[in-house]
């Protein structure tokens, strides 16, 4: 007899609904109603002060024609691609280095060190990174100066600012992918490697032929999670560059924030938000698609 049938014997679905009430009511009020609200709002023009006005698809067409909105999607996708590739590459490399042949105390030390930035607030990190990357008085340029590289205008040129945003983001977030890879590597049985070395695989080839295929389910999950979180980038550009110079570091979420709360164009902000949500759903759907192919490993 399972617990499920046990509770049925008491015949009360009611009890279950009571257990669920706080969560379901909360999700209903603060997620589902707002989603519907967003869907409706996207078809209205409303600045809260005056009355809402139905405008059909105008918010969407305006958003699609607004260079700032388009640039922000371009920036966001560019940041996501570069940041995620860097983040996963670095995380995998470090996970392999930490997992193999290292004395345990060193492994614990490095694991803690790489994981550490995850506990900081992105706002705090962006504050001190902003000082470090200052063109005239920053520590980064000071170090570059030591090896004879002239001061780089990090935060004041489009390329420099985008680079900093990506670096700061990866700095703080690669530890998460690192932990995932570490878990996956620990899960690979020793015998697999032994078998591989009998076949003559060593070093790099061993990883290419054994490690990478075996951890591919984790790679997939890690990339999807990294992509979704990077798509929502806001704190770093907000604190470091305010989206500038020009629109070079303006992300989609920044545009949503500015459209809604700086210009009070709530309808348009909702429309942009919905487009972002579609993007995120598409990534998730892709994950389901791909994970079916890799289902063997899971």
């Amino acid at each position: 007899m399972s617990a499920k049938s046990v509770s049925r014997s008491r015949g009360s679905s009611l009890m279950a609904y009571l257990f669920l009430a706080p969560t379901l009511a909360g999700i209903g009020i603060f997620t589902l109603i707002p989603i519907v609200g967003s869907l409706v709002l996207a078809f209205f023009r409303w600045d809260i002060i005056s009355n809402p006005e139905f405008v059909g698809f105008q918010n969407f067409t305006e958003a699609a024609a607004d260079p700032t909105v388009l640039v922000s999607f371009g920036n966001t996708i560019l940041f996501v691609v570069i940041a995620v590739v860097l983040q996963l590459g670095l995380a995998l490399l470090l996970a392999v280095l930490v997992q193999e042949r290292l004395p345990n105390w060193l492994r614990v030390f490095f694991r803690s060190a790489f994981f550490f930035p995850l506990i900081l607030s992105a706002a705090s990190v962006s504050i001190f990174m902003g000082y470090l990357f200052n063109e005239q008085f920053g520590v980064v340029n000071w170090f570059l100066g030591l090896v004879g590289i002239p001061a780089v205008p990090w935060l004041t040129t489009p390329t420099g600012a985008s680079t900093v945003i990506i670096l700061v983001y990866v700095w703080q977030n690669f530890g998460f992918s690192f932990l995932l890879f570490l878990g996956a590597l620990a899960g690979i049985p020793k015998e697999v490697y032994e078998a591989a070395s009998i076949d003559g695989a060593t070093g790099w080839r061993k990883h290419r032929n054994v490690t990478i295929p075996l951890i591919s389910p984790t790679t997939l999950v890690a990339s999807v999670m990294a992509i979704i979180s990077a798509l929502q980038m806001f704190d770093q550009p907000y604190v470091l560059t305010r989206g500038g110079p020009g629109d070079a570091t303006r992300t989609v979420v920044m545009v949503i924030y500015e459209t809604a709360f700086k210009r009070l164009e709530f309808g348009k902000a909702s429309a942009i938000g919905l487009i972002l949500m579609l993007l995120i759903m598409a990534v998730t759907a892709l994950q389901f698609r791909l994970s079916k192919r890799y289902v063997f490993y899971q």
């Binding site: 008085f137 935060l155 305010r242 989206g243 500038g244 110079p245 020009g246 210009r263």
Partner: protein, 477 residues
């Protein structure tokens, strides 16, 4: 499954219970904090005044409030400090409060938002000024009309200027002397200025920046545009305002210039003078004489200037206190008028820019009479003396910009702060139409591109500025 497990369960249950009870207890105990009802004056029937700044800024007005409440029994005041990174941020928070159904009665608004408020949120004060004109005569006699004109919108007055700041040029005297430069002349030009920067750079060693500036509406490109007698928006003036000017400024030398307020309705980023001014700044950046300006920056500027590694930077009287706190002696720096343009109309005018601030009464204010009393009291000499104890801004009253306030902590030529108005009648407010938010955003983002690259990049940035401004001005605020 022995007793030990069960005992473990009991302590775990106790722990869970304690966490739960703790949360309930905290909720109950902190309920006023959670609902914000512990914030003094919230929910009470008080005259609510929103100001930009911190709680410390609100407390700095405590004496003013106390005296006001003493003189106006029956009116209770609540100062609400709203921390914001810049004026735009502050205004959007005020709009959020309006949206949330809890608007303040009075808002301290700077030039940046004057027309936004006049257009949408503020109540004109014409009737009160006219009614109490005998009381107001002394105030207007002490305040330069250009400041008042900045709060005129389509013939109506919305605010009384309390404080203001021009963009003057601060310079580090030791860097200046190290380059063996003579004191800058009052009518120096941008060419003289550039030459001085070059000498300073040559004389200095290490990480020294001859010209440091920030990219925003106040003190960014605007002073250089005004110096060249141009602007990125076409400047027009509305008719009207005679009711005020004839009454209080009839014999002012500037009377003929006074209008019903500024209008900025068209972009002007394609004007050749704008190009000229931008190209000058770009030249400073390219040649390493000036920094590429950071967006929204300025937060470490006082520290950098005080550390002696910045040669010159534009600022007004508001800087004196900060430099004093950062340990700079009055002899370590001095202040000169902003340079004039060597050629063209700007050459004769030597026009400067300023920003000013004062209280605006909200349309939604229930007791407008009480609100006017606040405006009047805070503009009075008595009221101003209660708040301006430190030189962290320039009072709008000429008589307050005195030895007592600036003499001790201020630079040698502190008198130039107010002289910027008295000696240069063409001096005007920074351009801030009702659509200021989008306008400033468009300006900042294109300025940073324009001055930090090639001439071609600057050209395209100016074109894009023109286009962005057109879009921004078309929308209704």
């Amino acid at each position: 499954m022995g007793d030990s497990t069960r005992r473990g369960d009991v302590t775990r249950r106790a722990l869970l219970g304690a966490i739960g009870l703790g949360a309930v207890g905290a909720t109950v105990a902190a309920w006023p904090r959670l609902t914000g009802s512990d914030i003094p004056g919230r929910g009470e029937d008080r005259l609510t005044i929103a100001i930009i700044g911190t709680q410390a800024d609100a407390e700095a007005r405590a004496n003013l409030v106390k005296e006001f409440e003493r003189q106006n029994p029956g009116i209770k005041v609540r100062i609400m400090a709203i921390q914001s990174v810049d004026w735009q941020d502050f205004f959007s928070k005020i709009l959020t409060m309006v949206a949330a159904g809890t608007p303040p009665d009075i808002v301290n608004v700077a030039t940046e938002g004057a027309q936004l408020f006049a257009e949408r949120l503020a109540h004109p004060i014409d009737e009160y000024v006219t009614r109490d004109k005998e009381d107001m005569r002394e105030y207007f006699a002490d305040v330069h009309p250009s400041l008042v004109e900045a709060f005129m919108y389509r013939g109506h007055l919305y605010q009384l200027p309390i404080d203001w700041n021009a963009a003057n040029m601060y310079y580090n005297t030791s860097a200046w002397n190290a380059a063996r430069l003579p004191d800058p002349a009052e009518n120096w030009t941008q060419v003289d200025f550039r030459a001085a920067l070059a000498s300073m750079k040559q004389a200095a060693s290490g990480d020294f920046v001859p010209y440091y500036w920030t990219n925003r509406l106040f003190g960014g490109v605007v002073p250089w545009l005004y110096a060249n007698n141009t602007s990125f928006l076409k400047e027009e003036k509305a008719p009207g305002g005679e009711w005020l000017w004839d009454e209080f400024y009839g014999d002012s030398p500037a009377r003929s210039l006074l209008s019903g307020g500024y209008l900025w309705q068209q972009p002007n980023a394609d004007a050749p003078e704008v190009y000229e001014s931008f190209d000058f700044l770009r030249g400073l950046v390219v040649d390493g004489l000036g920094v590429r300006p950071e967006g929204g920056g300025g937060n470490t500027l006082v520290g950098q200037f005080a550390s002696g590694r910045v040669g010159t930077t534009p600022a007004g009287g508001y800087w004196v206190q900060g430099l004093h706190e950062a340990g700079m002696k009055p002899t370590d720096y001095d202040v000169q008028f902003f340079p004039r343009w060597a050629t063209g109309e700007g050459s004769e005018l030597q026009r400067h820019q300023f920003g000013t601030a004062g209280y605006a009464i909200m349309k939604t204010a229930k007791d407008k009479e009480a609100a006017w009393q606040w405006l009047k009291f805070s503009a009075s000499l008595e009221g101003m003396k209660l708040i301006f104890s430190n030189p962290n801004t320039t009072p709008s009253r000429r008589s307050m910009v005195n030895e007592e306030l600036f003499g001790v902590k201020g630079p040698k030529h502190w008198k130039r702060f107010y002289d910027t108005l008295d000696r240069f009648p063409a001096t005007g407010p920074i351009p801030a139409p009702p659509q200021q938010g989008s306008v400033e955003t468009a300006l900042i983002k294109n300025v940073s591109l324009a001055v930090s690259g090639s001439e071609a990049q600057m050209k395209s940035a100016l074109q894009s500025l023109q286009r962005d401004l057109e879009l921004a001005l078309r929308s209704n605020a």
